[in-house]
Amino acid sequence: MDWFLVLSSLIKISGFTFLVILPMVALCSLAERKVSAYIQDRVGPNRVGVPMTIFGAKKDFPLFGLIQPLADGLKFILKEDLTPKHVRKFYFWLAPVLTMVPALLTCAVIPFGSYLNIGGREVKMVIADLNVGPLFTFAIASLGVYGIVLAGWASNSKYPFLGGVRSSSQMISYEIALGLSVVPVLMVFQELNLGMIVEEQDRNGWLLLPLWGEGLSWQRWALLLPMGISFVVFTIAMFAETNRMPFDLPECETELVAGYHTEYSSMKFAMFFLGEYAAMIIGSGLIVTLFLGGWSIPFLPTAELAKTTWWMGLLHMGCFLTKVAAFIFFFMWVRWTLPRFRFDQLMRLGWVFFFELALANVFLTALILMIVKR
């Protein structure tokens, strides 16, 4: 057995999930409140810092409220964990886990960096270098619906149930648009390995920004239209999959109290909350990987350099995280701008508009590819 491989995988798994994703989830909850506050001309949480006064100092360090997530977490832990009498116990406990785990599992195939040169060996910065990357993420993400459906059903009361039913129909509908919109992308790359897709973009320009390498050819520019459509449909479907704002019907407060997690409290509610943010982060990661060049630095093809130097790999990781953070900001920005859809509008949009658009886009891409390649 190759101990180096095992050890590096372990470090990658624990490092990426526990040191990157989970802290990011925590920071996202803070960022969400900050962004919402800024959009609504408020200040947002800016108090919680290092409580130096407890240790006898004159002043606290406010730290712009960066410790707020810790305070939130503490609050969730200290709250009473209520299990109503009328719920189906086993599934009631299982549901929060089932929303959190798939969200964290999907990060396995997302390349969060290029290579890291550790002691002369180049280590690929992806947990599982599968040849079925996007399919894997869709497969695992589609399991996330179980958590919500079970939560709604196990709660054994009407609002959660309606939330659960809504979410499953919404997720199934938008999964189709999601899957179809990624097909043209895969047709262009002719590759299902997310790592290779990013390396290709590193060499020849991002899918949506073909400005260097082979990307400057007119063929790539001709493909920009279907790729743009793919990007838009994929992003919107991703919003729907993660139950984010214009599509947050499973938990819309004005109609369903709190939707599928109405009956949940304390840490179990926090799991839903965190699962949603984790899904959002992974979704952003996937969009960045497919359309915006993953870890690559614009205009500088640097994959080879990362194999020999140690700092380039770190730089790539930083680049990836920056892009993901920017996209998460976009998620939040949209949430605090757009109102919620009505449910029939949502279904119409998914089935009549995006499904058709994505399907037509596949043929459009095939047509352009046929003209361009011959």
Partner: protein
């Protein structure tokens, strides 16, 4: 007259939603940027910034007892304020002023005067009803304590907060 509201005809661009979505995004981004650059007025950051300086003259803060210019406590323990107080925050224990006292002709004074600040609703009824103009609402608003007992202001504390108030009623003045 019956009036029929025409349904607006949407143009293609409007039906696409995207232009208006982008417009909305632009507006919200504008708000973010303006706030980050400090162009937006936001809520006062309370403990650091206070509005004490701009409190209006009629501000109703904590009710307090006052003494007059010669140091006599004005309250004559008539208990009118106790009975008018809507939430019954005031409890007065009256006593007779001993005959050898300089102000014996006033006859009554409060032995103890308690205002429960957890109950008080800062309505100002006590101030209005007092015939002696002995009770006033001052501008203290940050009244805190860690126990219930601490939140009950006794006579000593009330005079501490109230201080001296000159003029107004002179009916117990020797010269009159």
């Amino acid at each position: 007259m019956a009036y029929v509201v025409e349904r607006p005809k949407l143009s293609f661009a409007e039906k696409l939603y995207f232009p208006s979505i982008l417009k909305g995004l632009k507006i919200t981004l504008g708000h973010i940027i303006r706030l980050m650059r400090g162009r937006t007025k936001v809520t006062m950051q309370y403990p650091e910034e206070k509005w004490d300086a701009s409190l209006p003259a009629h501000y109703r803060g904590a009710p307090t007892l006052v003494t007059d210019e010669v140091g006599r406590e004005r309250c004559v323990a008539c208990q009118l304020c106790e009975f008018i107080c809507p939430p019954r925050a005031i409890t007065i224990t009256p006593e007779q002023i001993p005959t050898e006292d300089k102000w014996a002709k006033v006859e009554k004074r409060p032995r103890e005067f308690k205002i429960d600040m957890i109950r008080c609703i800062y309505c100002g009824m006590c101030e209005e009803v007092c015939p002696e103009q002995a009770i006033y609402l001052r501008k203290d608003y940050a009244i805190t304590g860690t126990t219930r007992e601490e939140m009950v202001h006794d006579k000593k504390r009330l005079y501490e907060l109230g201080g001296v108030r000159e003029g107004l009623v002179n009916k117990w003045n020797e010269l009159k």
